[in-house]
Amino acid sequence: MQKNPIYTMTGAENSQPKSYNNNKIWTKPFIIGVLVVLILGIISLFTGVYDIRGQEDGMRMFFITRVPRTIALMLTGAAMSMSGLVMQMITQNRLVESTTTGTIEWAGLGLTFVYLLFPAPTLVQRMTGAIIFSFLGTMIFFLFLRRVRLRSSLIVPIIGMMLGAVISAVSTFVGLVFKMTQNIETWFVGSFAPVQIGRYEYLWLIVIVTFLIFIYADRFTLAGLGEDMTTSLGLNYNNIVLLGTGLIAFAIGIVAAVIGNLPFLGLIVPNIVSMFRGDNLRTNLPWVCVIGMGVLTACDIISRTIIKPFEVPVSMILGTLGSMVFIMVLLRQRRSR
């Protein structure tokens, strides 16, 4: 099988508008974007209460907390926005993301069960539980979308969020029976505060996911065209959907176990990118990656400075800002219709 059929087809290049046809990634705006993200990263390295230049063990603290935190921000930002993009590609619905499909609630349910089975679970156990449950949940949602005829694309996130409410009702029930509701609440609030050396390394696994998404990007786009189209183009639809869901669940499960819930990141970033760049997936992917990193790092810097010397969980900033951006995206869509 050829590596990516759509690009080797003769004449296929001409079917796209000319402005989107250049596959060059390192354009000037992109380089500027990367520079901005790098600057944000450097700011993030030097934001914090502990004075790393004045104190004697400053450099040690720098490498124990600041560097891991910044790396974690970059990895998570890229992973969440890419998995949002993959979900949107597979379902062909711009409003789908881990927040609006209930995936994150499934991950929470997985964490709850892990805490029930093992009194003091290791990070690997927690991650495994979160990954398995978010895979199951996302699969259930996708299966449901395939079975049901939709009258409007707006109904999909509504149903997904209701599904999430059901799952979190189950988690609350389990938590209340075993007296751990405050723990559950704490997991659902994503924060980078506890990130330090020895506690975040699993996030590096996300790099593999990102890499695989880059390789299979074209296939996910094809899968979005539907089962018949995909099959007639010579690909196995079910395998692609399974692979995509697996990658999403892997990324979200790791992030849920290590960081927590990061609402709307996977939704706003791909939407912002496609607003000013159109929908050429191949060249958009690096943009989604970089902007995801930038948005998350900027939000985390805000969360660390807004009530200094304390800090706000970043998920609260993301939830508040993200819901505003989401509503803007919706209203924009309404106007263009």
Binding site: V148, I159, Q182, M316, G319, S323, I327
Partner: protein, 354 residues
């Protein structure tokens, strides 16, 4: 002037002045179905009354002839009244909401009432501390909460349903997103609370009839009754509105004003219920779904009484069994929610379209 009487979803007939009594179709397909409906309704009401009677006197630790018998019953009476209020609010508002939005698997609790409620509660605890929180339960505070919630929904509906691009589903989605935003705000504040404060707040945030304060009743009961009567008398119009925008416009009912009027009533009922007994997400859904199964008609004049009966029976029976049979107090609302959620999943997977 012509009057529109809508009988069946498939055949809406115009009954003009020439209307002949025996030509008008009944709301039911056959006499047998009608009889079954009335038998079922009577049985459910009887069961509901039985359950509430059981809640009142069953397992009463004090003998009947003792002077403290009456105070015990009175205390339990408060719980029954708040159950009845919750049942009326939730079942009527969910049925109305589903008819207006022309969608049988969404509930008005999606619109973020519960998020707004928990934001108000949490921010009281967060900004003013425990003592203010505990005293934040007088009539004034209650009125403030209800007004804030109705106002928010009015602004939301008015803004999103007006104009050229007014869209019901968009409004729903925006409501859901606002709810999520508020929820992340309040969950952040909850995180900063001390565990003891958190526990007190948690007790109030879970819907429970035991949270209800009887001093609200003189204020709440008239509102609920008036709103319910308006809704019941609105049921003929709801019959038409539930056919969707195009059909109802063709039948001479202005769709948008009708929808906004219905939504305002829904938001009044939802706000009262949320402020009185706390958030309940899937209870209304559970009741509405059971009602559609039990009522073989689309006429709201028959759906509403059935919804009321089922709503009251579900909540009283759940409390009776959990208190006196399984001895599991405090988790009743969560169990109702779980059941409602599971029914939601089943209905969602069995339906072909949404």
């Amino acid at each position: 002037m012509n009057e529109f009487a809508f009988e069946n979803k498939k055949s809406a007939r115009i009954s003009s002045r020439l209307h002949i009594e025996n030509r008008s179709a009944s709301a039911f397909r056959s006499k047998k179905e009608e009889r079954r409906y009335w038998i079922l309704l009577t049985t459910l009401i009887a069961l509901g009354l039985l359950a509430s009677y059981g809640l009142l006197v069953y397992n009463n630790p004090v003998p009947v002839n003792s002077p403290s018998f009456i105070p015990v019953v009175r205390r339990r009476m408060v719980a029954i009244v708040s159950m009845a209020i919750a049942a009326i609010c939730q079942s009527l508002s969910t049925v109305t909401f589903q008819s207006i939005t022309n969608n049988k698997i969404i509930t008005p609790s999606l619109l973020g009432f519960e998020a707004l409620y928990s934001t108000i509660q949490t921010s009281t605890m967060f900004f003013f501390g425990l003592s203010t929180f505990l005293s934040f339960s007088n009539i004034g505070a209650f009125t403030f909460q209800v007004l804030a919630m109705v106002l928010m929904s009015l602004i939301l509906y008015g803004w999103l349903l007006s104009g050229k691009y007014g869209d019901l589903q968009l409004m729903l989605l925006v409501g859901v997103i606002i709810g999520t935003g508020l929820r992340s705000l309040s969950s952040f504040m909850r995180r900063l609370l001390a565990p003891s404060e958190f526990d007190i707040l948690q007790a109030r945030l879970f819907g429970s009839v035991n949270n209800a304060d009887p001093s609200y009743f003189p204020f709440v009961i008239p509102i609920v009754i008036v709103t319910a009567i308006i809704l019941l008398s609105y049921s003929k119009k709801l019959n038409v509105l539930s056919l969707g925008k195009d059909v109802s416009t063709a039948l001479g009912v202005k769709h948008k004003p009708g929808v906004i009027f219905g939504l305002v009533l829904v938001s009044v009922l939802m706000s009262v219920s949320t402020a009185l007994v706390g958030p309940l997400t899937f209870y209304g859904f559970l009741v509405a779904t059971l009602t559609y199964q039990a009522t073989p008609t689309y006429d709201h004049r028959y759906i509403f009484p059935m919804a009321l009966a089922i709503g009251f029976l579900v909540i009283t029976a759940a409390y009776f069994f959990m208190y006196h049979v399984f001895n599991a107090q405090g988790v009743v609302s969560i169990i109702i929610e779980m059941f409602g959620g599971l029914i939601f999943l089943i209905v969602m997977l069995r339906k072909g379209t949404i």
